[in-house]
Symmetry: C2
Subunit: 664 residues, 2 copies
């Protein structure tokens, strides 16, 4: 493809359904909101605490709240606004996410009218800053096993909130070290001498003067790799009295006499239903990781178009980095994958909006709704995992692609890397999340409600799994048509055939899933005395299955995105980028594909050759591809991108003067 | 393997030829030298500037200097001491590397007796702090093209040192922002109206009061991702007068009348001979990256043995992370690779000691010596690249393996990651270094002297390359015997057969190299009008060839290391670790191996199964493998490793009390 493409036409497709939110954030957040590289921890906390209150109200970050309290009941727009904030400053995004997403979101989703009436307005205005106190030092992934207890006493009609030991203290809690005045605290509910699993309470942790409330011990998590502007801290409770009505009682109630009631009988099911209402956090973290990735790629691609090193034979002017095949091999496949995730994320947010829209975090008991809610959770988990790992790898690569300049704070890459680093393990550890995705693919398990409970019920799973689930979600009929057009698995099909890509991705997922089920069944039969090993022995296989699933839905979303593109040149460009994405995955997985007869050695070599052809073909469009991300220069804020016009020419002239001196 | 292994027996093998240096550093550097996580940039600079003067003189960091001036002429010991320093504090290592390795090393290697007599004692004592001012903003990889000029004037008998434009300023220079009083400045030498290429001068940059010398402009590179204790800065020269005798004139002299003379006629050859004398920097950076990797792995493995998450079916106690296959898949192959590099590095340092030992950086004109010097440079480049990338990946993985705790500065992983990050691009960008390695493998090019000159002479190379060079360096006869015992390429050989591993590694290197030569020749014939494309079109292939070469010499070094191990249990353990290293590489390269008929699909699947078996087999030895690194607890200095005895038991008891409450 040789024709020029207008980045604005590509941007339209990327901006998608919430283009108005994206543009509003771009328009409204000026230089005063932009990251300040190299500031100290104290400076960063001070700045972010101030900015969180200065965020314009019309940019949508808090728009997921019910309209009755000043929100607009738009969870999709809220997720997109948070993603945009991540392109401005990741601390600001996380601080906003803690305040409005986690803290405010939990009050909305787990509380009832009395809590909403009392607190939501102050939460939205950030007059009441709060924490989401779930994670404990000893339990981050297995939150069903939290050790904090909250025991009801019918005599005083209050709860007793208590941290039994150091590993049960709340840890890494955003807003806890400095700004939080209340916290949604998750703890084991005990009443009438019985346990009812994890519930949440709204608990004051600081008074008006900022001093800890009686019985509450607050600590600072101290220096972190990044996110300097977020005041992560630790909270312990020494028999703190909590009034009965502070239980967020949407899913479980305690009567004055201590009687427990809930519309959901099973403790595990109830807890994961509660967690499910908070899925927006994961949706946002994945999106924010990709937003940061786009910033890093924009910096590296623009630098690689300006930076020259080593001369071309017979040419005095040195070669720009982006002309080197090795540099293209670094930047372009990462760029293609970033495009792919943008489309997958757009679809995920649309699902979020459809499932939660208007209901503000509610789930009805309806089976179809529950199925869609599970699917939303699974995709949110999977796309969070792959996007955050992609961010970690890509930002690292961009930093290296900028050489020594990439190591300087003034060029933003160190901050982008350090700030996003924690995304791979917070809001769910990526490895645990991929496990969750894999389980969601097993029919029996999905129906029986699995979520984050580790290997606990391995025998159950192994016995229940019946068949794999492969549901197309995007552009079903288009994809069916493309796949149907592929004449079997033979060598006649072009390596760039979209139907072939789709078939390979689908086939890989199916085969991995079938294999996992077969191995689990066999394990259940032969390792009855070692139930832990049934799952553990295939853990690597299970994780690969989850990745293959996410790869497939990502490719399908990309295909659907191209279908939505109306400008012919933009459409052609996106199609080549999609080729590169699909073939990069196939190239990376060629070992597995050959092992399983999905690829011949000759065709495998052809894939590598075609990837290199695509790099050459896309080279002239690298700048277009990052310009279409439409990140304002003020947000990028990278010193290496600020070049005075004419400076290069002036320097070239000086160089020519030296070169005119004859060699001795 | 089931028997227990004494870590001390493994440590002996790892400590190797310079065990006395390693132990001296362990004994002498107490808590006062240890990294302080979370300090500000100013605090870090202050501390490191102080510590560099307090380093005990008997730990060998400065031992490479000639005995006549107070050193011990032991470049190997000096490299090992620097590596050990990296385990204490990476800023301290880099500061020491700048002062004694780069600055002091350049004065030794490029200067002559008058310079040595005047400055070496003060350099060794750190009374005279100095910079190595080579890199410019515009030229980091292609240093032959530096833009700073130094022009001789026979009338005044002085040089005029000048920075012609902003891209020619010296950039990222250690010791420049704060402590440096002199600098070895690299610039284009011009005399008698002719250019003679890049030479070095010793130039004062600050006076006794710390103010910049006249005509010298000093700047601060500002906040960086890591290495906060190193004062990197920028230096520009505005027609600074430099006395004639300040030219470091070992390889090129300027007579009072301006006549230039050198024992090496060719400018390029002379410049790369000068650079070659400074190879110790690369040797040290690779080693330091691995030292940091060992620190990170020790923290992650020990945490993974203590941290529990999710319960095992039928067991109240939760499972330790290291028992999960996915966790083993992360930590153990990385650990095996770290062992492999330790042996390869030991051999590299031995080569350094043999080539440079006693001569202090000299190279005689002898062809055999030059061949060995080239080989040393190539291996230093290659092992620097693979070890620094391995560090970046592994430390990142360790940080993730420690979850949220891994993100806190108090647990050291953020610092280890950020400090080592720049290693992939300084002392030579890794991609450029691998190119250098690949060129070294082409006979014609190697003889004709290639080094870091990019693709400049592509046609030359393509025409000259004659055959590949495959020289065994470690344990030649042993490896020949092992390879000879493999009965061809069939499936009869066990996947764990060492001879098979060696054959696969060797075969891969040979085939890649042959293919690169074939493609270069073909390109030279068909792309005569596009000389840049001849090399650029095969750049990815060339880089893979270099990696395959380094993989092979690494495996051979590991095999030689096992051969040196006398304790039978330690030997058996190391042999399993070597299996895991070899099979991890084969697994990662299985796509290529199947494409080229080196591996059948069935055997490829068997490799994955055997890797998983090895993980199970090595699981009980994970702690032994990190204990053998013998890193003092005080150096590790990670809060998560400081657990009061009995605390876990006390907490388990409290948990039991809650668990005794019946479920509602």
């Amino acid at each position: 493809m040789t024709r020029e493409v207008d980045p604005a036409r590509v941007q339209e497709v990327l901006d998608g359904r919430w283009a108005h939110i994206r543009q509003a954030v771009r328009d409204r957040l000026g230089p005063e909101f932009v990251t300040v590289p190299g500031e100290t921890g104290d400076q960063a906390r001070e700045r972010i605490s101030r900015l969180i209150r200065e965020l314009p109200t019309d940019v949508g970050v808090a728009s997921a709240f019910p309209a009755a309290y000043g929100g607009s009941g738009d969870p999709g727009g809220s997720a997109v606004a948070a993603e945009m904030l991540a392109q401005v400053d990741l601390s600001l995004m996380v601080k906003a996410g803690v305040q409005w997403g986690l803290f405010g979101g939990a009050v909305v989703a787990l509380g009832t009218a009395k809590h909403h009436d009392a607190y939501l307005r102050d939460i939205i205005s950030a007059d009441l800053m709060g924490c989401f106190a779930m994670t404990e030092t000893g339990h981050g992934s297995d939150v069903q096993q939290l050790r904090t207890t909250c025991t009801y006493d019918p005599v005083s009609q209050t709860f007793d909130l208590h941290t039994p030991h150091q590993a049960a203290r709340k840890d890494y809690i955003g807003n806890a070290a400095r700004d939080g005045r209340m916290a949604v605290v998750f703890a084991q509910l005990i009443t009438g001498g019985r346990r009812y699993g994890v519930h949440a309470w709204l608990v004051p942790i600081r008074d008006e003067q900022g001093n800890p409330m009686p019985g509450v011990t607050l600590g600072d998590a101290g220096a972190k790799a990044g996110l300097l502007g977020v005041d992560n801290g630790r909270i312990s409770f020494d028999h703190v009295t909590v009034p009965r009505e502070m239980l967020l009682d949407r899913y479980g109630q305690v009567a004055p006499d201590g009687t427990y009631s809930s519309s959901i009988e099973n403790d595990t099911r109830r807890f994961f239903t509660m967690l499910g209402t908070l899925v927006r956090g994961r949706v946002t973290v994945g999106a924010s990781a990709s937003a940061a990735t786009r910033s890093a790629l924009t910096i590296a691609v623009r630098y690689g178009d300006a930076r020259r090193q080593f001369t071309r034979p017979g040419d005095d002017r040195e070669v720009v980095l982006n002309d080197y095949l090795a540099h293209q091999r670094k930047l372009l496949p990462a760029l293609a994958t970033t495009y792919a995730y943008a489309f997958a994320q757009e679809e995920l947010v649309a699902t979020l909006a459809d499932v939660q829209g208007g209901v503000s975090g509610g789930t009805s008991g309806d089976a179809v709704d529950e199925h869609r809610q599970r699917e939303l959770e699974s995709r949110a988990a999977g796309l969070k995992a792959v996007q955050t790992w992609h961010a970690t790898h890509t930002i690292q690569m961009c930093r290296e692609a900028c050489g020594g300049a990439g190591y300087l704070a003034e060029n933003r890459l160190p901050g982008l890397k350090a700030d996003t680093d924690v995304f791979t393990t917070f809001e769910g550890d990526n490895t645990v999340l991929l496990q969750l995705v894999a389980k969601g693919l097993l029919t029996g398990y999905r129906d029986a409600f699995g979520s984050l409970d580790g290997w606990g019920r391995a025998t159950f799973v192994a016995e229940q799994v019946r068949e794999m689930v492969l549901e197309r979600t995007a552009a079903r009929s288009l994809i069916q048509r493309l796949v149907g057009a592929v004449p079997g698995r033979d060598e006649e099909v072009a390596v760039t055939d979209r139907g072939w890509h789709l078939t390979v991705f689908e086939d890989r997922e199916k085969h991995l899933l079938d294999g996992a089920i077969r191995r689990l069944r066999k394990g259940a039969a032969t390792k009855k005395d070692r139930p832990f090993d049934i799952f553990n022995d295939v853990q690597d296989h299970v994780l690969k299955t989850a990745t293959a699933h996410i790869d497939r839905i990502t490719l399908e979303a990309f295909v659907a995105g191209i279908e939505r593109t109306t400008d012919p040149a933009a459409r052609e460009l996106l199609s080549r980028v999609c080729d590169l994405y699909a073939l990069s995955v196939i190239e990376a997985e060629k070992g597995w594909l050959m092992e399983h007869g999905r690829l011949t050695p000759a065709r495998s070599k052809a894939v590598t050759a075609v990837v290199n052809d695509l790099l050459r073909e896309l080279r002239p469009h690298m700048r277009t591809l990052v310009d279409a991300f439409a990140i304002p220069d003020a947000w990028l804020n990278a010193a290496i991108l600020r070049e005075e016009p004419g400076r290069q020419d002036a320097m070239a002239k000086e160089d020519d003067a030296v070169r005119a001196v004859p060699v001795g």
